[in-house]
Symmetry: C2
Amino acid sequence: MSNKQLTKREENFSQWYLDVITAADLAEHGDVKGTMIIKPYGYAIWERLQRILDDKIKETGHQNAYFPMFIPKSFFSKEAAHVSGFAKECAVVTHYRLKTDEKGELVVDPEAKLQEELIVRPTSETIIHSAFSRWIKSWRDLPILINQWANIVRWEMRTRLFLRTSEFLWQEGHTAHATEAEAEAEARKMLEVYKWLAQDIMAMPVIDGQKSEAEKFAGALRTYAIEAMMQDGKSLQAGTSHNLGQGFAKAFEVKFVDENNTQQYAWMTSWGVSTRLIGGLIMTHSDNKGLVLPPQLAPIQVVIIPIIKDDNSAKKVLEAVTKLKEDLQTAAVRVHVDSRDFETMGNKMYEWEKKGVPLRIEIGPRDVENKQVMLACRDQDKKSPLPLSGAVTAITDLLLDMQKSLFIKAQKRLTENSYNIDNYSEFTKKVENGGFFYAHWCGNAKCEEEIKQETKATIRCMPFAQKEEKGVCMKCNKDSKKRVIFARAY
Amino acid sequence: MSNKQLTKREENFSQWYLDVITAADLAEHGDVKGTMIIKPYGYAIWERLQRILDDKIKETGHQNAYFPMFIPKSFFSKEAAHVSGFAKECAVVTHYRLKTDEKGELVVDPEAKLQEELIVRPTSETIIHSAFSRWIKSWRDLPILINQWANIVRWEMRTRLFLRTSEFLWQEGHTAHATEAEAEAEARKMLEVYKWLAQDIMAMPVIDGQKSEAEKFAGALRTYAIEAMMQDGKSLQAGTSHNLGQGFAKAFEVKFVDENNTQQYAWMTSWGVSTRLIGGLIMTHSDNKGLVLPPQLAPIQVVIIPIIKDDNSAKKVLEAVTKLKEDLQTAAVRVHVDSRDFETMGNKMYEWEKKGVPLRIEIGPRDVENKQVMLACRDQDKKSPLPLSGAVTAITDLLLDMQKSLFIKAQKRLTENSYNIDNYSEFTKKVENGGFFYAHWCGNAKCEEEIKQETKATIRCMPFAQKEEKGVCMKCNKDSKKRVIFARAY
């Protein structure tokens, strides 16, 4: 990549996305098809997200734990809908030893075949509910509120960095409750947490709502989701939260004795977000110069580049740089000084731009004399002087402003590309260009499937905020009470 | 478990260890043989360790990243010593899909067989060095200082919670350098970090030194380790750091152009500690009442139990409890109030004792009147009053003291159970009872292997601190310059 121009977003969105990742050095493909290496800068963004969400998960009463990643094949057969949802994309462990054969080649030892094959977790409901069945005896043991951070494997044929890889990282919450109402409240509460994470931390506006039966999680009673609009108008499912009802509890015998001494099945939820969020982050804010990061998530919020002209002035410049750096650190700003002497000024500027660092500050001898620095905001096209006096306050204000303005910009795009639509033939044309289409739908899975086949658009969600109104399904003309969102999606 | 007495440490150490884990609710076996579920309280200890070590890893200049857990089988063949070290304990993925057969049973789909089998990482040198070969071109790209937190699989036939499980959690550092000296310095520096973690954070004294050729990491030039003595006198390898030399660099073509424009192979290191440390923590400090946690690692440092006698005095007690809790939180003490009303006072005390909470505070109506609390230290057998005035300072001091005294106690045991020994027949008898045996050894792998076969003792390390002295190998009487440590080990 180095100094190559990025593909233009408006010319080839999909190639632009990959170029942004390469230019910012976020990730690359691993040696095994479909796998991903998350490089240090990409991982630092994930760590920011993870720390912020983890704190919130604990604040809301959950505890972290860790469950094995190998799941006995038989566990999958226990919940019928679950197995049909995941069987087609499972990595299967069949042996536990290699050996060197007579030709001196490393082969799988046929004598080390497992009696029962193991599945690498595509999600952990089965293994966790099996543990819950041992842990839960009485109403006093409830609720159980667990979360785990883990790697997940879903064998994907068509992969895309961050958005769809065979292995990815995520958190998965798993809870058990005494009543249906508590489970429902938990599922909705955690969707609220995800909405907060997307909007307040990632500056990525989302629509929250319920999934249709066809789109819900394999084994769930109801699935809730937040959906974000990418810059090409396609939707990204950014987080899901499931009310699992009692289906898994019945399959895994998760029972408790209630306060009236009666045996009851527990009510479960599960909810998760993954490294896919980083794909959403990229496609929400980045531009033709590369990555744009909201200040809350930027591993480096401010980069300072000293401009050294000669030995005479170097000392004064470096003093000013160090002072500003320390003052910013005291104000809890994440700051980095780029003092590499083997890179040109141009290359440095270009590199930090591609990496989406919110603020870039240059300090040269002239600036020190004028008691100022030169400041460039990543989301604007100009560079302007900033007085050194009061610089820290100005910078922290600018970071807050940028966080807000990135959200507002994305929100504006979401609004401008959302349409009420009633005519199906008009829909089939307009959907080609992306956007969220609020349309009436009869509630029938057949219409939903036909629309998907004909337009590649799916029901993203039935938005919570949507008001009831009279209408007819845009596909079959049967009665409908509410509009749902149709869109093409990642 | 509930109120069952623990097996006595002196009667059956191995059962006592498992009883401590169950009583403190740290972990349990998973559904697949050899796997482990780390329960919330056990995981909270791991999270403390992880956060503290992660901060130090970053302070020392390393960056986190994430590499795929699936390694192509062919990667293992590239480094001969490495493959022979790990081939016998690999989980192998051979298929990527399940299907329902004609009988309606869930089976592995034979048509979804992988062309090349995948190994679930037993360690990540191969996959990471393959990435390094793409990332490193010039001396300017060096050093590369990477760390990852990950799950690891080594198929174990005889497993033991925390100490030896098929899947475990760890961090693995992987670095590449331009010179041998830099790699050596890095390997030694990270061993120092591990020593600090063991001694200053876990209060677990260790001996640092070099491993013999027979005990070094498969593929390393030199392996350094820290070894701790458990309460039964056996050794626990608590962390290792490897100078890998250029072996992997040659196998994976990790080359760079140096400042003289010459192609060179890079010099590598790797280093890791795992959830095994929690096993070491348990076997270092715990007693017949259950877990004992050093305050630095305790998820809960202080538990406060309000004693409610009647409605009249309840309000005053709860006010005092809340005030103390808030004051302790302000002083960054991790405090928990146990206000469960369905548990007896006795059960509560017993539970927090088993969980190793350093300080237990009880507050009843009489205490409020007397402006005091009752305080019990987990490592002492008495309960005494503590005036409420100045309580926070007294408590933070007590936590510091307990951290120190746990270390001193363990250090004393280590010293008392370390012996200089010269007579082999005496050694074979004494080693039965545990302890570290400083003995002369000729340096020959044959003697080392014979000693292992005859006594189950191995060379734990050649201690850095050991002075040169004239002597003869206790096994073969050939010349030796330094004593090494023999011991039985986990």
